[in-house]
């Protein structure tokens, strides 16, 4: 049988995105959470604009990270309940490819809106143009890593009913490097220091997780199904 992996990948991802967009709460809730957290900081801190600009990288990155964790729980939960995972497991396509479609659709429906709204929030936190660019670039490199790593955790906890804080506790340690480098780039941009090495490091994170996360997610799903 002739299998066209790229064609299948695009088709399945299209369907997945359609599924996510049609259940509006799934993708709007994390986005609203992200906007709310970031908006509350200027109100709480008051009129000290330098303090605000200094805190901005941390605030935005922590909010983005938590918003991703909130959305991560849904990735395989519904598939498991609906028996759709069984279909994935007996698909003719490798499980890692199917995991990658889930991750890609998650990033497009959750990560991309965060990035698109970020310039607006950056202005609210008194960032200048150079820092806004750095914010967008770090989020562009960082959010795929969050989705990729998060998918492993989501797949591992798929059979655990009412897992609550299990997934965040499992994922946060792995998110820390991305957080450190993401905020690091923005702080260094703020201080006009060279950041190219940090960007390279972020790029390495993306490539590394792009190779391993789909494989591990696929394996985790296989283990989940046998429970």
């Amino acid at each position: 049988m002739q299998l066209n992996y790229l064609h299948a990948f695009i088709q399945i991802t299209k369907h997945e995105i359609k599924i996510i967009l049609r259940s509006r709460f799934t993708w709007i809730t994390p986005l609203v959470f992200y906007i709310m957290v970031v908006c509350l900081f200027p109100l709480a801190i008051g009129h000290d604009q330098t303090l605000l600009a200094n805190m901005a990288p941390g605030v935005i990155w922590v909010a983005a990270l938590l918003a991703t964790i909130i959305s991560m729980g849904h990735v395989f939960r519904n598939d498991f309940d609906e028996g759709y995972l069984d279909l994935l497991l007996v698909s003719t396509y490798p499980l890692s490819l199917l995991a990658l479609t889930k991750i890609t659709s998650h990033w497009i429906s959750h990560g991309l809106p965060l990035i698109l709204i970020s310039p607006l929030l950056g202005l609210l936190l008194n960032l200048n143009t150079e820092e806004l660019c750095a914010l967008i670039f770090t989020l562009l490199l960082g959010t795929p890593v969050l989705s990729l790593i998060g998918a492993i955790g989501a797949a591992l906890t798929v059979t655990v009913r009412s897992n609550g804080l299990l997934l965040p506790m499992l994922m946060i340690p792995f998110y820390i490097p991305v957080l450190i480098f993401g905020t690091g780039i923005m702080i260094m941009t703020h201080n006009h220091e060279p950041v190219i090495a940090y960007y390279a490091m972020m790029g390495a994170f993306v490539l590394l997780s792009l190779v391993f996360a789909p494989l591990l997610t696929g394996q985790a799903l296989k283990i989940g199904a046998s429970g």
């Binding site: 049988m1 609906e82 028996g83």
Partner: protein, 209 residues
């Protein structure tokens, strides 16, 4: 070579409770096997083992002489499993659901509309699956059997919620499958109304078949 699915001394334990042990069966092409047993006797578990989702505690399942966990890719291409939970996405339409499963099974089909018509879902083909009745969802599942060219059909309670017409559809599908030298393993309580001898596997206390 004719196709053959073999169960070699299958045993499965849940906690300390033995669901079944030393289950030995050979299923040849053109045979329907009905799996019977009271609730909780392990019918679904047996089907999930046959589909390769769960490893049995001892014994193995072979497809044309090769263990299904070793020769997984080849087996998957020849097998279709329709489980308890339907595997249908509630916010996709009937047509979209079918085309998604179609892509997943690696089967290129341009005639999804014909299949939908055969399954009697023509009127609802552009309605989201969440608004369908249980029987219609079941029909949508069975529609998968029509485009899959799989030899082995593993059906878990395929006739729940089906009306007489749906039942008839299932029987026709099974009859054609047998004529084409297919294999079907069906877990159900109801008697199958086929003009064909159906072998039975009893699980639980009724070992005398």
């Amino acid at each position: 070579m004719t196709d053959q699915l073999c169960l070699h001394d299958l045993s499965f334990k849940r906690k300390h409770h033995v669901l079944f042990s030393k289950l030995h069966h050979t299923i040849n092409a053109g045979e329907i096997i009905q799996v019977r047993g009271h609730n909780g006797s392990g019918k679904s578990t047996l089907l999930r083992i046959l589909a390769g989702f769960i490893e049995p505690h001892s014994g193995m399942v072979t497809w044309n002489g090769l263990c299904i966990s070793k020769d997984r890719e080849n087996y998957i291409e020849n097998m279709i499993y329709i489980g308890h939970s339907n595997g249908i996405k509630p916010n996709l339409t009937v047509y979209e659901n079918l085309s998604l499963t179609c892509i997943l099974t690696g089967f290129q089909s341009k005639d999804l509309h014909i299949i939908i018509k055969k399954a009697g879902l023509e009127a609802v083909s552009h309605i989201r699956a969440q608004y369908l009745s249980a029987g219609q969802l079941r029909r949508l599942c069975l529609a998968r059997l029509m485009f899959a060219s799989s030899t082995v059909w593993l059906l878990d309670e395929p006739n729940t919620a089906l009306d007489d017409e749906g039942q008839g559809l299932l029987n026709t599908l099974l009859r054609n499958h047998i004529i084409n030298h297919g294999i079907a393993v069906i877990a159900t309580h109801q008697a199958l109304l086929l003009n064909h001898t159906v072998k039975t596997i009893f699980l639980g206390d009724h070992h005398a078949a």
